[in-house]
């Protein structure tokens, strides 16, 4: 029943699932080590106290949100060049995980801000506002996806939108350097400005969240590939049924 075009998509989904399965146990272990690093290994910050420990996972998720949106950007360009729908599936999966991670970044940032800045959200702060714009851009990306019928036109529009939306990522990153903000600048040209143990905990947390992120992206891409393949096969079956009639 599978046509020559379907087979690679089905095999690709299986390969993605194998990668996700392979990363699952290392991912669990790394998250456990990262939690140990954040709560027990890293020292308590002098001014902020224990609440600063949110930082390790806050930054880990922020880094991965950027990474997944870069994935949308690259997959979008590759789709426009090759016109292979698998790149659209990858872009959609990356955008979805990016949205989840950006939500975590905004929620944890807000919880961290309350005891330190005495407010849940600083309206007008460039870092916070550009991050909110980023979240809204990818929310619009999904609105666009759900409003268009399946096909090359939809994938083209989404690829172009994903490429343009990515332009906000460098703006989010540079916002604390370009404009006046209350958000701290942790990594500067002269170093990270953290104790050595804090840097170790941060690195482990970054690796753990990256493994978790790659696992989720591969899993979601495989699901999207399988779902679209099932839809295509249904259409083929219906067409054959119609032809017999």
């Amino acid at each position: 029943m599978l046509s020559q075009n379907d087979q690679p998509s089905w095999q690709l989904a299986r390969r993605y699932l194998q990668v996700a399965n392979g990363l699952l146990i290392p991912g669990y272990l790394l998250v456990a080590v990262a939690l140990y690093g954040a709560f027990l290994y890293a020292p308590t910050e002098r001014e902020m106290g224990d609440v600063q420990r949110i930082f390790y996972f806050h930054m880990g998720t922020a880094w991965n949100a950027f990474l997944t949106f870069f994935g949308v950007f690259v997959a979008g360009i590759t789709y426009l060049i090759t016109r292979q729908s698998k790149w659209d599936r990858l872009a959609a999966a990356c955008a979805e995980i990016g949205m989840v991670f950006t939500t975590i970044v905004m929620v944890t940032g807000s919880i961290w801000a309350k005891p330190i800045w005495n407010t849940w959200w600083a309206w007008g702060d460039p870092r916070l506002m550009t991050t909110m714009v980023l979240w809204l851009l990818y929310a619009a990306y999904f609105l666009l996806r759900s409003s268009l019928p399946e096909g090359d036109k939809k994938y083209q529009f989404c690829a172009v939108f994903g490429i343009i939306a990515f332009l906000d990522v460098p703006i989010v990153y540079m916002s604390i350097r370009w404009w006046r903000t209350i958000h701290p600048v942790v990594i500067t040209s002269s170093g990270a400005g953290l104790a050595t143990e804090m840097i170790h905990a941060l690195i482990v947390s970054l690796i753990a969240m990256t493994v978790l992120c790659v696992t989720l992206v591969t899993l979601r891409t495989a699901m999207r590939l399988n779902a679209s393949l099932a839809d295509e096969l249904f259409q083929q079956l219906d067409q054959r049924g119609d032809e017999r009639l």
Partner: protein, 46 residues
């Protein structure tokens, strides 16, 4: 300390909700594939 607890609770709760959403999506894909297999069986019986 309560803010620290709330922060980590938020991280794992959001991830848990997303995993539940993924599981539901996977069930839908499985249901589609089962329906597809039934249709294929029915067409081969004819």
């Amino acid at each position: 300390m309560s803010y620290l607890f709330a922060g980590y609770l938020a991280i794992w709760t959001i991830l848990l909700f997303y995993l539940v959403y993924l599981t539901r999506g996977q069930k839908q894909v499985n249901a589609k594939l089962e329906e597809l297999a039934e249709k294929l069986n029915a067409s081969s019986d004819r």
